[in-house]
Amino acid sequence: MQAVISSIGFWLRQIAKSPLIALSFIVLLAMVIVAIFAPQIAPYSPNAQSIAFRLLPPGSDGYILGTDQLGRDVLSRLIWGARLSIGVGFAVMVLTAVVGVILGIISGYFGGIVDSVIMRLVDMWLAFPFLLLAIALVAVLGQGSDKLIFALVLSGWPAFARPVRGEILQLREREYVLSAKVLGVPPLSVMFRHLLPNVMPTILVLAALDLGATILSLAALAFLGLGVDAETASWGGMLASGRNYVATAWWLSTFPGLVIFAVVMASNLIGDWLRDLFDPRSPFRLGSISAAARKRLAEDSSSSFPRPARPEPGTGARPPHDRKA
């Protein structure tokens, strides 16, 4: 299975099967390209103001998507906004995954007191209103995308830690892990060379969902008046400052709103699609399944035990979505 997952051809074939998923990938890819080449693509500097030309509607001479309250080009700001939103989104995604997965693996592998401490921390974090945590952290640390990333990672790690820990709890009793231990393979090696590849599918699913969640969090923070410094164009900031113009200058909120919607939707669809591919309980994982496996699954779920507590993403823990507020 690992070998299959790492083959590019396999992925392309899977993506090609669903037009919606293909579209989602295209949206994300396009956003990444826009973010990287923002200086080359954007017709104006994101902060170039011409106050006399404020609030021009889309299609006005030279301003394809119109201008905002200070006469800045909406299109250029959207393009530069991709830099911040996508950049912070991916950075938070990767860092949250790293922190969450490390804590999850440690917690699951060692168990005992380490596990108890980390899991109670997770409980506290999950019960704590995310926005309050982010507001407080931004207020304490100050503005700027680096601080924002820090605040979002600090408040988001349990979304990875808990499901990963759940999987590790099961995996660590598996034969090959036990044998590796018996053979004297050092714990770090067991954790990261043997256990990690096996929780990769869960991590990928969570990561895909996390991207969307982060972008929504950025927007919620902007609504509450927090976020990056005012000069840095961000989708959330544009949407928040355009919300008072829904009736008089619809283009201020509609375009950033649509872009956010597209990216978050793409991230959600890809996450769901990945889950379908990987979920061992789904008889359709990787598109095919043997009759024996189907039978085994049927036996599994009709056994006299309650549902297995296998923390498939979405049951065992709050997925990153919970951050939307």
């Binding site: 103001q49 404020r54 200070l70 207020a139 503005q143 410094d229 005012a230 000069e231």
Partner: protein, 519 residues
Amino acid sequence: MSFLRSAVKHLALAGASLALLASAASAQDSAPREPKGTLTIGWAWDPGTMDPQMHRARFTQIISHAMRDKLYYLPPPGLGLAPLVAEDVEQVDDTTYDLKLRQGVKFHNGDELTSEDVVYTFERLWDPATKSPRASMGNMANVESAEVVDRYTVRFKTKVPFGPPNQAIPGLNFAAQEIMNKKVDGARTLEETRTAAPMGVGPFKFVEWTPNQRVVMDAFLDYWQGAPGVERIIWRTIPEEATRVAELLSGSVDMIYPVTTDFVDQLRAANMKLEIVPGSSMRMLQMNVREGSPFADPEVRRAMNVAIDKDAIAEHIYRGLAVVARQVSGIGQEGYNPDYDPFTYDPEAAKAVLSKVTKPIEMLTVPMFELPAQFIAEQLRGYGMNVSTKIMDTAAFNAAVEAGDFDLALAFAGYGTGEFVGAYYNNHFECSRLATGRIRTGFCSEDLDRKYAELRRELDQARWQEKMDEINRELTEVHMPWVPLFIEAEVWAMQPHVQGFVGSSTGQMFDLHKVTLEK
């Protein structure tokens, strides 16, 4: 009184509808005896408490004032003091003032207002057991006592001389206290007063308060200025402005406050009536003049004063709902001189100096000023400065500027009383406040303090004016701790059938009893 006239002239130029003031005054004579209809006001706040002495919030005072009249109220700066339940004041000696109350003023329960109630109000305020945050507002700490002389006369004694009554009363803050009822409030505990029905002599009687939702009050038919024009007022708490505007447009509220320029076009297009009053809060760039800041150099501060296109801010960002400020004294404030305009916008001159400022500069501000701040920052970047804007919530902003932990701050200073002498100078320029963190810019001048002390002692009106003028000029073009920017208007929006509402520059809602609904 040429100062007053010029202030009035300026107010009118600024878009003030002084005609409305006049018409409102005459409306009183023809006010209908029969209150009609319900006036629903959508505004951003909840009063928090019904105890008039346990808060310092303007919005709590507005609610309270609709039910409890004061001795005086303060109209826009420059227009003097307006007596309310106080009829007259007489200065007995340097430190003694006798206030005459109107006769026949009724509380909501039918009791007549007497000097006992006034004395009770102030004694409750000053009683350490009350622990009122208002107890030392203004110069109240310098008031010795309040005593009953006769049924309608109250004698106030002060510890130090405060000059003629028209100067003494605003500074001593007698104007800001709503009169309570000795019999009713005296029998309540502090905790009870917080939620109990206010018993005042105001135009409206308390009906109901659902915290964070609504306050309901009914017309008081025996109000001493005549029965109010509306039968009932409902104040609804709606913190988000977009929601407030939607409520007004959908017709479920009759009036909203506050309104920012974001919505003015939309409201005008929907034929809503706007009440626009010139504000009394100076918006300025405060420059940190402490050692190590580029603004420690007066030449840089001078360049800053000619670097910003204030007219563009007023015209484009505020759509004419702000007036450009050109001196440290605000429009209508003491010391304001309409002919005084020392700096002209001069990008060339600014660039010559500012291009040499290389240190990265953060300009702090609050969300309310995000647009002007970004406009200013972009202009300064145009001169080669490295400026970024940092938007903070009010609490964090205040903490940062009080600590002097900034280079530039787009801040504000209110002058609702119209005074320059007193809080305005104390809070922003007086050296003795440098230690307590009150002088945000870090600027102070012993020489100026001396002149200020002389000004306070000056009794001759003409010479006082001269000295005041000198202080204003020195601050504006010699010391230059600020770049005065603009003064924003206060805006209310209402349905066309709301008649007779008069706004005030401090956002107060006086004379709500004169409002009528004509559908």
